[in-house]
């Protein structure tokens, strides 16, 4: 090290100058924002639950079951997704469909999200375009393993995300949790 560096002082002062410059620049921006300048950002962070970055349209988020016009699932219980699923998290029980032109309907369609690896194979395998992963919902959690199993009714009620990736339907509440607060 050079002699000047060994005294630390000059290096320390230049470092302090850098951080102080950041401090005062950000303070000025914060003050400008508080005074009404909405385009002034003193921080690069995003206040997550209130602010979100736009999600990519290709994002694989919580599944949903696509509905027919009468509200019944488009799924025909062909078991393709259950077969292709590498995590074996899909459980389907088939039933007779009242319409003779449609062969089957799922009586049960459960996805265990505790096991799901979000590979998207089920979406690719589906011949009826009955399952999609475009809800934009990522914040699902539960206090128990059972609570992570989402049933046919819950999956049918979900809507696709908006163009900017913001979810349009509320996050499904797991069975083991009650809604508290707002």
């Amino acid at each position: 090290m050079k002699l000047l560096q060994r005294f630390y002082l000059r290096e320390v002062l230049s470092g302090l100058g850098l951080t102080a410059a950041h401090f005062f620049r950000n303070m000025r921006l914060h003050a400008a924002r508080a005074l009404g300048r909405k385009d002034a950002h003193g921080a690069v962070t995003i206040q997550y639950p209130e602010e979100r970055r736009p999600y990519s349209p290709r994002l694989r988020s919580l599944h949903r079951l696509v509905r027919r016009e009468d509200g019944s699932p488009r799924c025909v219980a062909c078991m393709m997704c259950e077969t292709v699923c590498p995590a074996r998290c899909i459980y389907i029980v088939a039933d007779e469909h009242p319409n003779p032109e449609i062969e089957k309907i799922p009586a049960r369609f459960d996805i265990d999200l505790g096991k799901c690896v979000f590979c998207g194979f089920c979406v690719e395998a589906c011949p009826e375009d009955a399952i999609r992963m475009d809800t934009g919902i990522l914040e699902f959690s539960s206090y128990s393993r059972g609570g992570m199993i989402y049933t046919k009714e819950a999956l049918l009620s979900l809507e696709p995300a908006g163009a900017d990736g913001v979810p349009t339907s509320p996050v499904p509440i797991p069975a083991d949790r009650r809604v508290v607060g707002p």
Binding site: L16, L18, T19, H22, G42
Partner: protein
Amino acid sequence: MTATLTDFGIAFARVAFVMMFILNLGGLLTWVERKQSAIMQDRIGANRASILGFRIMGLFHPLADAIKMLTKEDFLPARADRFLFKLAPFVSVFFGLVAFASIPFGDTLRIGDRVIPLQAVTLNVGVLYVFAMLSLGVYGVMMAGWSSSNNFALLGGQRAAALMISAEIAIGASIMGVIMVYGSLDLMEIVRAQGAPLLPRLFGDWIPAWGLLTQPLAFVLFVTAGIAATKRIPFDMPEGESEIIGYFVEYSGMKFGMFAMADFLETVVIAGLTTSLFLGGWQVPYLHPDGFVFPWGATLHVPHGLVALLQVGAFSLKVVVMIFIMMLVRWTLPRFRYDQAMRLGWLGLFPLSILNIVLTGLVLLLVGPRA
């Protein structure tokens, strides 16, 4: 009888003011640390604690901290020395609190025919008193390390003791120059002397003789050693929260909180001491007891009460600026390795302090005292 009661009341008020000042400032420093570091790092900082939806820039976080600390389990290791283990955090906080007593926060205040020095305790050896209290503070740390019956805690306590010795020597030696220049150990006298003009034959009345200008080398040395005495980054090898284990590894709950509090109190004390020794204490430039006397000839009469208020305000402002600088250092520099800190203390700060004493003596011999 009434006179003595009034005297007692005044003495109590002086002590209460200093206590409130240092405790509130110390408590607020947890918030300052979070927010200042966040803004320096382009973040926003803790802002989630709220009461009835009001967040007021995260100011409830110190409160939330206190509630968390108080409600946590207060764990006592099975083989710890129970008495010393419980005593240690109190020792740390106590000496941090009382160290501020002899630091003046204003000149004298006249009420009627009473003359009240704005200082918790009037001591003619104020500087020595502050150093004694600061040095005693390390006993709490060593006690904590020893009584935890944990080898890591013991090593942390030893590191703290070694650091404190090397820092205290540098602190003591670096302010010798200040004492030589102003010719007193009384902090009030030192601050008063800093109001005199610096080199009046050269600059007239333009520049006050603050310690920063008369003793620039001592200022750098003192601030460096002072930061080491507060045991904060870049000299935090006694604690080393992130990877090396410190003296308070066995502490939990409010006892741990008190050690953290003691660090902040020491920060306030070092900032107050730096202000008194080097930044002119309560001196406002050109403000005399009767009002402003500007060097270009203008005068502005200021009533006595306002003068005292201005002085207290100036002292508080200088302390806050000093704390800002210390926080800036804490969030900018990486930690010194143990041997680096020792080398800096014994081969850097200490010899330079001695050099400073010699230089100051030479200058004083040549130009005469109080020039």
